[in-house]
Each structure stands twice: as C-alpha cells, then as structure tokens.
C-alpha cells in the first residue's frame, strides 16, 4: 500500500502528475476541437456546396475510423512531416517529435468531427424569427451572432458537448500507447517496476472514474447556469 504513497518510494505523486497531464491533454484538445468544430459547423451550413461536401466527407471519415488509428496516424504523420521539413531545411535527424502536440491534434480532430454536428443542430434550433427581429431593430451581423445566436446556441449545445467531453477525457488514455506519460502509462510503468500491475491499473481506473464524476457534476452546474431564466 505504501507504494501508492507520496515521496521517493511511493508512486502516488507520479500518478497525480500523470492525471494532471491527462486533464491538460483533454482541456487543450477541447479548446482546439471546439474552435475547429465551429468552423466545420459553419462549413456544413455554408451555401457553397463544395465546402459542405468537404466537411461532410471529413466527419464521415472520422466517424468510421477507430480513434486509436487516428491517433497513430496523427502521431506518425507529424513525425514524417517533421522529418521531411527538417530534411528540406538541410537538418539531419535528432529532432524531437512533439508527441503531446500530435496527441492533441488527433484528439481535437476527433472532437471536432462529432462536435460540429452538435453545434450545427444547436445553430439551427435558434428560431429564425429572432434573427429577423435582430435585423429589424438594426443590429449588425456580429451583434446578432454574439448577442442572440451564441448564448442560445451554447445552452442547446451544452448537453451534447458535455457528452463529447467525457468521451474525449476517456480517449486521452490512448495516448499511453504513444508513450506520453499520462495517467494510464504512468500506472502501467509503475506496475511493471513494482510488479504490482493490478494495484496500479486499478488505481488509474479509480482516478479516471473520479475525473468523469467531477466532469459530470461540472456539466450539471454549467447546464443549470445556461438554463437560468428558462421556463421548466
């Protein structure tokens, strides 16, 4: 049991550091994924057909291919790209691949593909009459977006995005296979070193459960806040 403790002998602090990296991975991917998802949603709502097809093809691809494979593609893809870039500049080898960036790239690419559907649905759920009303009182397009569309879009999209957040939080564990020292990999290594894999993997599982439980509570409070003033 002291193996789970803190300090030189224990792995407790390493596990916590791993958990912190897990949360970091998920939060950064969420920020980038949301932005990219918004762009994709706009592309899907565009009047320009090729843009719609491009976005459609992208989501179809991501939804049909395992997350694990996408992460590996992002990982080895950036490795190749970095190597090619280095060769172009006349540098040779010895360039560290930004593993964290590759994992964030893969995770946010997945998040965006699912997120854009949620955002698109929420966009369309804001009644057109409100937009017209905004025009008729002389608001600019930006003001209409910012003051009328966005606050309501947020409220409608929140439950769906909350689900996607939970999915992505769990998907960060795949980064363990890419040798990123997040929670699961720390637990695996600790288990191998101490020959107690069951204990450490169970501990990692418990921490993941805690993280998803906290996320669930936060989502509920966000939703309560977004729904304030709405008739139940």
């Amino acid at each position: 049991m002291e193996l789970l403790g803190f300090g030189a002998e224990g792995w407790g602090d390493d596990l916590l550091r791993g958990a912190a990296l897990t949360v970091q991975l998920a939060v950064v991917s969420l920020a980038i994924g949301l932005t990219f998802g918004m762009v994709l949603a706009l592309a899907k709502l565009s009047r320009f057909a090729p843009l719609r097809w491009l976005a459609q093809g992208y989501t179809l691809f991501i939804r049909g291919v395992p997350e694990f494979l996408i992460l590996l593609l992002a990982f080895f893809g950036t490795e190749k790209a970095v190597a090619a870039g280095a060769a172009l500049l006349g540098l040779e080898g010895g360039i560290e691949v930004p593993k964290f960036a590759a994992a964030v790239g893969g995770l946010s690419a997945i998040f965006a593909a699912y997120g854009c559907e949620v955002i698109r649905g929420a966009w369309l759920a804001v009644p057109n009459g409100q937009i017209e009303a905004g025009h008729s009182v002389g608001l600019s397009r930006w003001q209409i977006f910012y003051r009328i569309r966005l606050p309501q879009l947020w409220r409608i999209a929140l439950p769906g995005l909350g689900n996607l957040w939970l999915v992505m939080l769990k998907d960060t564990s795949l980064a363990a296979v890419l040798a990123i020292d997040e929670l699961l990999r720390v637990a695996k290594v600790a288990g191998e070193v101490t020959r107690q894999p069951l204990m450490f993997l169970l501990a990692a599982g418990a921490i993941y459960l805690l993280l998803t439980a906290i996320s669930d509570k936060m989502r509920a409070s966000f939703e309560a806040r977004a729904n304030r003033g709405m008739a139940r």
Partner: protein, 244 residues
C-alpha cells in the same frame, strides 16, 4: 476449431486473389494479413455485440426493478464501465488480473492468458453498460399507463416487460443502439494492445516492417468500409421496425 481457422484463411486468400490488380501495390503485398485481421475484428464485433445486447438487456431490466439492491447493482455496473476508459478496462483484466499467474488463477488461467478471450469479455461488458443505459432511456419514454394496463390484464411484471415494454423500448432505442455498435466497432481496435491480431493488430505489425503511413490509410479505409456496411444494415432494420 482448426476447420474454422482454415475457412477464414480460405476466405482471405479468395478475397485477395479477387482483389489482385485492382488494389494498390502496398496493399496487395500484405493483403491476406489485412483480411485476416478484418475477419478477427468482424468476429469479435459480432460476438460481443450479441452477448452485450443480452447482458445489457438484463441490466436495463434490473435498473427498473422493484428491488433496491438490484437497481443499485445495475446502476453501479453502468456507472463504472461507462466512467472508465475501455483501454484501462482491457489492461486491468489482461495485464492486471492476468499478472496473478496460473497458480492463483487456477482453472481461469487459460481465459486470462488469451488476449482474444479477455478482449471479447471486456468488449462485451463495456458495451452492455452502454446498451443498458440506452434501453433504460427507451423504457423511460414509454407512458406509465402501458405497464399499468398490462398488469391490470393480469400479466406478471416479467411478462409485461417481455411482451409490452421491451419490444417498444427496443424500437425507440434502435438509432442510439446503432451509434453504440459503431463505437464498439471502433473500440475493438484497442484489443490490438493486448496482443490480439485484429485488423488494427495486423496493421501495426505491417507498419512496423516498413514504417509507411500508407499502411494506416489502407486499414482506415477498411474500417470506414465496415462502418458504412454497419450503417446500411442498421438503417434497413430501422425501416422494418418503423413499419411494424
């Protein structure tokens, strides 16, 4: 068993022979391995989805049971298996429990030793937790009068569940179940981390030979194809359910 294995090899040889010439060179060179892996993925998917559906139904029924202990147990089942990553579950069973070794595990050892068996069991349990939630939601959408009417006709709760509530809940839940099936298909790629040579496992081993990114693209196409087929199949069933 070996007859079954021979059949699988015959299928992949046949497919690859037929695909010769129309597929890119990089794919054709390793074609039998991709198809072998594809068949393992398909096999795991069919078994775990069928088993998971049965267990998930039982868990969903337990969640609306009148017995508190049963309700709590079913809730915990869904909560734990949905709240932790599939990869962690796979590793806990294969590397964690498996590390106890043959002395402690006794007759269970052959199960824990086999990545395929562990993969199938964990995929089944994982998807059953999600299916239970989906079905519970489906049962929740039905008007309470349905159960009351069934009971007042003299049906037992079990019969009312089987004949009245569950068939309707399945119809309501079908589209959500379809999504879960696709997620299960994609999640099954993780069994490659516990030594199973499914499509992903074969892909990674082919990749390790040449470090060519193409390898992953071919496998992505095969997975996307499988997703497309599943979606089409699910749609067809959905149509039938709607007519009924």
């Amino acid at each position: 068993m070996s007859l079954y294995q021979d059949l699988k090899y015959a299928i992949s040889d046949g497919v690859c022979y037929a695909a010769q010439g129309v597929t890119p060179e990089g794919f054709a060179a390793y074609c039998p391995r991709y198809i072998d892996g594809f068949l393992v993925t398909l096999e795991l998917l069919l078994l775990s989805s069928a088993l998971g559906l049965s267990i998930g139904t039982l868990v969903a029924v337990a969640r609306v049971s009148r017995q508190r202990a049963l309700r709590t147990a079913a809730w915990a089942w869904s909560y734990v298996f949905r709240g932790t990553p599939l990869l962690v579950q796979l590793w806990i069973v294969y590397y964690g429990l498996g590390s106890l070794g043959p002395e402690k595990l006794g007759i269970l050892w052959p199960f824990f030793k086999s990545g395929w068996a562990v993969g199938l069991a964990v995929l089944t349990i994982n998807t059953s937790a999600y299916i239970a939630e989906i079905l519970r939601g489906g049962i929740g959408t039905l008007p309470p009068g349905q159960l009351e009417a069934a009971l007042s006709c003299g049906m037992s709760r079990g019969m009312a569940m089987r004949r009245i509530l569950l068939p309707q809940a399945f119809r309501v839940a079908w589209p959500a179940y379809g999504n879960e099936l696709i997620l299960l298909m994609k999640g099954s790629a993780l069994v490659s981390t516990i030594t199973v040579m499914d499509l992903m496992g074969q892909t990674r081993s082919v990749f390790a030979r040449g470090y060519s990114l193409e390898t992953y693209m071919y496998s992505a196409v095969l997975y996307a194809l499988l997703a497309l087929l599943l979606t089409a199949g699910l749609r067809a069933v959905e149509k039938r359910l709607r007519v009924a």
